[in-house]
């Protein structure tokens, strides 16, 4: 029996899991997909928000500002790429400028440091490609960018290195109340028991709560669509550019990613069905908006498009509390934006302020929070690389030519916690297949490595997701 089972292997479940391994607890995470970070934590903007957006005194405001302050150290300990690139909220009218003043005041109330309003000339200096129609901007130097799935994978991987267990393909379907906790049953009939359950199931957290008898959560979906541009255009902007928020919403953003691509989006459409599919209208909307924000955006360099679905609560704020109805259940739900930014702060709060009141927490002296970065090879000197290649020649062989990823790095991703079982899982850990040819060349090789390492038949290798086999059989 586990002390604690976390449901949902997103960034929230992942950072909470890792936080719990700092104590002498037997913990696990149950994830319905074949890999971690398959929900909103896979497809979002990756912005470490400064914290001027959220309503003062909300949980969003509190955890955003705290999370923002923690992120740099948190990321560096886990070897996750993070960049403090600064955010700019663009104003296109006098009216917008008034809104920016309000944002600035709100941000200061929330505890955001060093906010300032800059004029056109200064904006030009910071971002020469901004549209000539921009009249000024709110500058938030504490804004940053991070790779959301890298953060999730690293948190869960590090938690596993510290003893946590990961159950993938475990979709929580029902639960049985035990004397001292729950027996949790998956759709396939697998069972895990735990004394305390932490519900971090994103879009499904309402459903999951009701499985444990708590019907109070009302979680809805709002989809966002994106277009990603080639690294070749990576210097188009360096800060994250937002539009001034209006009644119509936050509008879309233009940002660099930590891997040097340019990301455009997201849209915001209410959805009943949370399938992350892109639409012609959505992508056209992004294109139009970007054209109004920037001069000659290099849209010809688009390499892919994708969508993510925000899981928000009808309460308009994060829900982070012990269920009032179901015993031993903690709900961490409705974690929409700025949830990624807030994750480290939420995790700390859940462990120290909620779990600590339900069970006694004893420090795990063996906890080691450090993780070797997935991209460690890239950062080695040539001498160090050659040292490694001498010991393990697979590091001398390039598999993904667009991103320059070696066989050694792919093998490592397949073996390290949390093990990559699919093509997409390898891609999220190593970037193999994420470049401009989108896996055209390396996919057959990556599939071979997965088949070999996990000892499965070549034609059984999956792209990622249920029933996503790449091949249908041998040729005649």
């Amino acid at each position: 029996m586990f002390d604690i089972a976390v449901i949902g292997g997103g960034v929230i479940g992942g950072t909470i899991l890792r936080e719990l391994t700092k104590y002498q607890l037997n913990v696990c995470v149950l994830e319905s997909c074949d890999d971690v970070s398959m929900g909103q934590s896979k497809a979002n903007s990756g912005i470490v928000h400064a914290g001027y957006d959220a309503k003062p005194n909300s949980l969003k405001a509190k955890f955003n500002v705290l999370g923002n302050k923690m992120m740099s150290a948190y990321a560096s300990e886990l070897g996750v790429k993070y960049k403090n690139n600064g955010s700019l909220v663009l104003a296109f009218s006098e009216e917008d400028l008034t809104v920016l003043e309000e944002l600035k005041t709100r941000g200061e109330t929330n505890g955001v440091e060093r906010l300032s309003i800059i004029d056109r000339a200064e904006l030009n200096r910071l971002e020469p490609n901004v549209s000539d129609n921009a009249v000024g901007a709110l500058y938030a130097p504490t804004g940053g960018i991070i790779c959301p799935y890298e953060l999730t994978i690293a948190s869960i991987g590090n938690a596993m290195d510290n003893g946590a267990k990961l159950y993938c393909n475990f979709e929580v379907a029902s639960a049985k109340k035990l004397e001292n906790g729950y027996e949790i049953i998956s759709t396939d009939g697998n069972k895990v028991s735990a004394k305390i359950v932490i519900n971090c199931a994103g879009i499904n957290s309402g459903k999951v709560a009701s499985i444990f008898g708590d019907d109070t959560l009302n979680i809805k979906g709002r989809k966002g669509e994106y277009i990603l541009l080639d690294r070749e255009s990576g210097d188009f902007v360096s800060h994250t550019l937002f539009c001034t928020p209006s009644k119509a919403g936050k509008g879309i953003l233009v940002t660099q990613t930590v891997d040097g691509n340019i990301l455009l989006g997201p849209t915001a459409t209410e959805v009943e069905n949370p399938a992350p599919v892109t639409t012609a209208q959505g992508l056209a909307f992004v294109v139009d908006k970007v054209k109004s924000m920037c001069k000659n955006p290099p849209l010809f360099n688009s390499i892919t498009s994708f969508a993510g679905v925000r899981a928000y609560s009808d309460k308009g704020d994060f829900i982070i509390e012990k269920s009032a109805i179901a015993e031993n259940l903690i709900n961490v739900a409705g974690i929409e934006s700025p949830g990624l930014t807030s994750a480290p702060a939420i995790a700390k709060f859940v462990a120290e302020e909620i779990v600590a009141k339900m069970t006694s927490l004893v420090k795990n002296e063996k906890f080691n929070g450090k993780r070797t970065p997935d991209y460690f090879f890239k950062n080695l000197s040539i001498e160090e690389k050659n040292e490694l290649i001498k010991k393990d020649s697979t590091y001398g062989k390039i598999i993904c030519r667009c991103e320059g990823i070696t066989e050694g790095e792919i093998i490592r991703a397949v073996r390290e916690n949390p093990k990559a079982m699919t093509i997409d899982a390898v891609k999220r850990r190593t970037r193999a297949g994420m470049g401009r040819c989108q896996g055209g060349f390396c996919q057959p090789h990556v599939a071979e490595i997965i088949a070999r390492e996990h000892n499965i038949a070549y034609e059984k290798v999956q792209k990622g997701g249920k029933n996503s086999t790449l091949l249908v059989g041998k040729v005649k």
Binding site: V277, S305, R401, C437, Q438, G440, K466, N467, L470, K474
Partner: protein
């Protein structure tokens, strides 16, 4: 392996192999070919269909057979080849950096370099087709690799987007392997593939080709379950109510090839925005002295026979550079005019000692037309064509004696005859 060579050739496809032979036979014998894969032959290794070598050998060979003829000759001459070795970069001083499981990361000093890295396929992302991102979406070349090299079928019910040659060839290949190809759709009013491939790969198997059509949605969660195609208007916008739906488990993309030039770009070799390959003189030297380019890395060829020709020219020029020293160029520019997409070479030496063959592609399908190379109001060369299509590379010869008459930019254009 040594740490310096007269000539380093990047890429051991048909271009790299032919360039090596020609450089060797023209006196530059100290050559290293660097190839990323575990064998030379390039993309030909996966092209097991016939039709290679019709021009050069007057025979219809398969891709591997065509490549084998060159490999044999290269081996006879004892030219050094490093396989499983990827070039990571080179610089203006012609120091080439590469990595291999055997040697690790190493550098070699070259006197001259030939770029023969081939091309890559444009991916789905470049088109931003809406929908989900399930398994079952491949570029035609990837599918070709699965079927012909690995021996596995990527799917059974197929829709192909784009009518490039690889897509057409794969339509036939998948059909022969028992798959059902429901449609090939092409957004342009014409196919970008060779006429012979349309006839032999689609018509002969009753596979419909929908011109002026594109895929407007891809469906499926784990694996593709279907697509919607729509007709497009003259601005390539989908026309409402022309949607057709297909149930399929596979979508292949054959939407164009792009010369592979990351290396050239980072070495500062100037590229052409039109071909996306290097800008070259008629001898295939780039604007970086001593660096030459040929094959699909320079311009996307339809036929490997022309790749070999071009590579021989580059190999010969590199040998001359190594033996005689750098050429001082005194050249005029060569540009595309009306109805022409690009022309290569972009620069021609006034004192070139041989006829110069211009390679180009027209921008649409034209019937009964004249192609003209003009300098000012002087007509330098012309050629009449009954039909010219973007899918087939065209050539025009500028005789040496005419070069003297050119005292400004040479412009190539196409006029439709009345």
């Amino acid at each position: 392996m040594k740490n310096n060579y007269d000539l380093v050739i990047i890429g051991g496809g048909p271009a790299g192999l032919a360039a090596a032979l020609s450089a060797y036979d023209n006196g530059a014998k100290d050559i290293l070919i660097i190839e990323r894969e575990n064998r030379t032959g390039g993309i030909l290794n996966q092209c097991i269909h016939n039709g290679f070598g019709l021009t050069r050998f007057k025979e219809s060979l398969s891709g591997p057979e065509y490549a084998a003829r060159f490999k044999t000759e290269v081996n006879k001459r004892g030219i050094e080849i490093l396989t499983e070795t990827t070039v990571l970069g080179f610089n203006k001083d012609k120091i080439v950096t590469a990595t291999s499981p055997v040697y690790g990361i190493f550098t070699v000093q070259a006197k001259a370099i030939i770029l023969a890295m081939g091309c890559r396929e444009r991916s789905r992302g470049a088109l931003n087709i809406p929908g989900s991102r399930p398994a079952g979406i491949y570029s035609a070349g990837t599918a070709q690799k699965y079927v012909n090299v690995k021996g596995y079928m990527p799917g059974k019910e197929v829709v192909i987007l784009g009518s490039g040659d690889i897509g057409l060839i794969m339509a036939r290949r998948m059909t022969l392997e028992g798959a059902k190809v429901h449609a090939v759709c092409e957004i342009m009013p014409y196919s970008s593939g060779l006429k012979r491939n349309i006839v032999q790969c689609l018509d002969d198997f009753g596979i419909p080709l929908y011109l002026n059509h594109t895929i407007t949605e891809i469906r499926g969660e784990g694996r593709v379950t279907g697509v919607t195609i729509s007709q497009v208007d003259e601005f390539k916008r989908p026309i409402p109510n022309t949607e057709k739906s297909f149930n399929c488990d596979t979508v292949l993309f054959s939407v164009g090839l792009i010369p592979e030039n990351e290396l050239a770009k980072s070495a500062g070799v100037p590229l052409s925005a039109r071909t996306r390959g290097a800008i070259v003189y008629q001898n295939r030297e780039t604007l970086t002295s001593g660096v030459f380019a040929c094959g699909n890395a320079l311009q996307v060829h339809d036929l490997v026979d022309f790749v070999s020709d071009e590579a021989e020219l580059a190999g010969r020029s590199a040998a001359e550079y190594i033996i005689k020293g750098a050429t001082i160029h005194d050249a005029f520019d060569c540009e595309n005019g009306a109805n022409i997409n690009y022309v290569l070479p972009q620069k021609i030496d006034k004192n070139a000692s041989e006829n110069v063959k211009l390679f180009f592609r027209v921008s649409n399908t034209f019937r009964n037309c004249t192609i003209k190379a003009v300098c000012g109001d002087k007509v330098i060369a012309t050629k009449k064509r009954l039909i010219a299509t973007p899918g087939e590379m065209e050539t025009l010869i500028i005789p040496t004696e005419k070069l003297k008459e050119i005292n400004g930019t040479l412009t190539l254009s196409l006029e439709v005859n009345e």
